[in-house]
């Protein structure tokens, strides 16, 4: 099972924002869209991701709500300004669901932008992938049981 099979049922909507978006506005968007992260984009290119956790972690910052998200986001590529910032991991539609979930769990992140030829095509969460995996395993059990229970007649 590949990420494309998860993206297929997620609809075409992507929750994104521009790098200059103030945190206040990003929080409002997270709330109304009921999602945990926004992909920060330049056009259709992902620059980084801003998650609830990125914001919570800086909650003691005085001017937090007025700060542009690009100052807080987990950025694509190396060389983030504060040196401690994590690097954003992106996937492709052809990535294996199981491997990606392993990567996300091992590295403690919950949202993964999916890109195709550099352009953002979707976002998957650990929840999406865990559910897809459980459904797939349940499906296998269902099928195996049906086969085991089947009479041995030939049709």
């Amino acid at each position: 099972m590949k990420l494309l099979h998860v993206l297929a049922t997620k609809g075409p909507m992507l929750h994104t924002c521009a790098p200059g978006t103030p945190v206040r506005e990003a929080v409002e968007r997270l709330r109304t869209a009921d999602v945990g992260a926004l992909v920060v984009v330049d056009g259709d290119r992902p620059l980084g991701i801003i998650s609830e956790r990125d914001i919570v972690r800086r909650i003691d910052r005085g001017d937090l709500l007025g700060t542009p998200v690009e100052a807080l986001m987990t950025a694509v590529g190396a060389g983030a300004a504060d040196g401690r910032r994590r690097q954003l991991v992106c996937g492709t539609a052809e990535d294996d669901v199981e491997r990606v979930l392993d990567t996300m769990i091992a590295n403690h992140f919950r949202h993964l932008p999916v890109v195709q030829d550099g352009a953002l095509v979707g976002i998957v969460t650990t929840g999406d992938l865990a559910r897809a995996l459980i459904d797939s395993l349940r499906g296998s059990v269902e099928t195996l049981e049906a086969q085991v229970m089947a009479d041995d007649d030939r049709g």
């Binding site: 494309l4 990535d95 030939r154």
Partner: protein
């Protein structure tokens, strides 16, 4: 919560397609909203979709799921209208007029392409067409495949690829005891194929086939299963993956592949090669527009950013001679008239089973998808049960909130509409008659059934 609480006409639902997803959806719908009436439509006169036309004829046990589907179809609240095609005899407007909700479970009816030069040469075929052909699908029964060359290549290592390789390798005597279509049985009996090459881009640890399927290949009479020990060995990435996953199923599969690779060929008349780390780059023209070989790039695995082992060419390129090449690199859904389609994933645009407008992502009231046209081709038959249940839960929620198509025909009016659009439609009772005739014909041959392979023959048998 039932949809029809408070009296009034029962909610009427149309399901387009009669494969596993359709029947699981119908079953769940009847359980959760007992007042619902369901009409199931299929473009073919016979039900069960890929269970009848996809599952290999020598895997009859897998087909036993149709017993459950049959009890759903025999429920008085359910009607089956075969030989009625959406977009052909039935339009979206018809559905809007007649039904409260419409669920599309039309599957993934076409194949993904490899995207390499030579793919359109004669002798280059989608595995899906071959599968449909040997299963007697009326739209494919008249196909011919070039079985006069000694060698065939099958690109892909999924279940379909393994089925195709097995069907090309098994003895005609074994096939005769299956419900392989008569035309295919005859053509495969005359087949000159002695060598089948199954080609995987990645390694043994990433192969999609299951251990029982591989074991079955290794036990075929008159067939040597040949695996290069060097290709069966795990590369460092795969070794780490197998160790980290600590998955006994994966471990057993890898161990079986390695054990088989150490088995010396016994000089049997047919050879089935299982190759790993080979990616097709071109189909080679014999000078007359026909495939004579497949050019392959040796691959090794590198880890993608998100952690997936992916195949990268090492630079080594070589050819394997083959007069027929099947691509089995996935199925794809086809767009349906009036419904938004996402070309990227080959599915009807949807959110959890609700059809959504392509631009806004807003649900289109009353329209739903389930199965492969919803999530793309993944999983086994049973995977469609959960998938269909998820969709049905959306349907119940929307019906309760009054978000429907608003169609108001009753049972008889819907029947009149179908009868007017497609007079020779086929009912489930008709199918049961065809089923009996097929089984009776099979008895004579020691096979589970002999399939009708044309719509005309089916209708004629029903006296239409």
């Amino acid at each position: 919560m039932t949809v029809a609480e408070g009296g009034g006409a029962p909610p009427r639902v149309a399901i387009i397609g009669a494969g596993p997803a359709a029947f699981y959806a119908a079953e769940h719908l009847l359980q959760r909203a007992p007042a619902t009436e369901i009409d199931i439509f299929d473009r073919l006169p016979v039900p069960f979709g890929l269970v009848r036309y996809g599952v290999a004829p020598d895997h009859q046990k897998i087909k036993s799921v149709t017993k459950g589907y049959t009890s759903v179809a025999l429920d008085p609240r359910v009607r089956f209208f075969g030989n009625v095609g959406y977009g052909e005899h039935l339009t979206l407007d018809d559905l809007r007029r007649c039904y409260a909700q419409a669920l599309f479970a039309t599957g993934a009816q076409t194949d993904r392409r490899m995207g390499i030069p030579g793919e359109d040469l004669a002798g280059s075929e989608p595995a899906t067409a071959f599968v449909a052909w040997y299963n007697g699908h009326p739209l494919y029964a008249d196909r011919t495949f070039y079985l006069s060359h000694e060698a065939v290549a099958v690109v892909g290592v999924g279940n379909v690829a393994i089925d195709v390789a097995r069907m090309l390798s098994v003895s005609p005597e074994r096939l005769a005891r299956t419900d392989t279509a008569a035309g295919a049985l005859e053509a495969l009996g005359r087949s000159a194929v002695r060598e089948v090459h199954v080609l995987g881009r990645r390694g043994p640890a990433q192969a999609a086939f299951t251990t029982p399927e591989l074991k079955e290949l290794s036990e075929l009479r008159d067939v040597d299963l040949i695996i290069d020990p060097a290709e069966a060995a795990l590369d460092p990435l795969s070794r780490a993956e197998v160790e980290r996953a600590d998955d006994p199923v994966l471990r057993r599969k890898v161990e079986l592949i390695q054990a088989l690779s150490r088995r010396p060929p016994a000089g049997r008349p047919r050879r089935l090669y299982l190759h790993f780390f080979m990616s097709p780059v071109e189909l080679v023209d014999d000078g007359a527009g026909h495939v004579r070989a497949i050019r392959l790039a040796r691959t090794h695995l590198v880890e993608s950013e998100a952690g997936t082992p992916i195949a990268e060419p090492t630079g080594e390129v070589f050819e394997i001679a083959a007069g027929l090449v099947f691509r089995s690199v996935g199925y794809r859904g086809v767009p349906l008239p009036g419904l938004p389609f996402d070309e990227r994933w080959g599915v009807i645009t949807n959110g959890g089973g609700r059809v959504t407008a392509a631009e806004t992502g807003e649900p289109v009231p009353g329209l739903y998808v389930a199965g492969w046209i919803k999530r793309g081709p993944s999983g086994v038959i049973g995977t469609n049960k959960r998938d269909a249940q998820e969709t049905v839960e959306c349907m119940l929620e929307d019906a309760a909130a009054g978000r429907t198509l608003g169609g108001r025909c009753d049972r008889d009016e819907a029947l009149a509409m179908v009868a007017c659009r497609q007079p020779p439609h086929v009912t489930f009772e008709d199918w049961q008659r065809l089923d009996e005739l097929e089984r009776a014909a099979g008895m004579a041959r020691g096979a589970p059934r002999v399939k009708f392979t044309s719509v005309e023959a089916m209708l004629a048998a029903l006296g239409r």
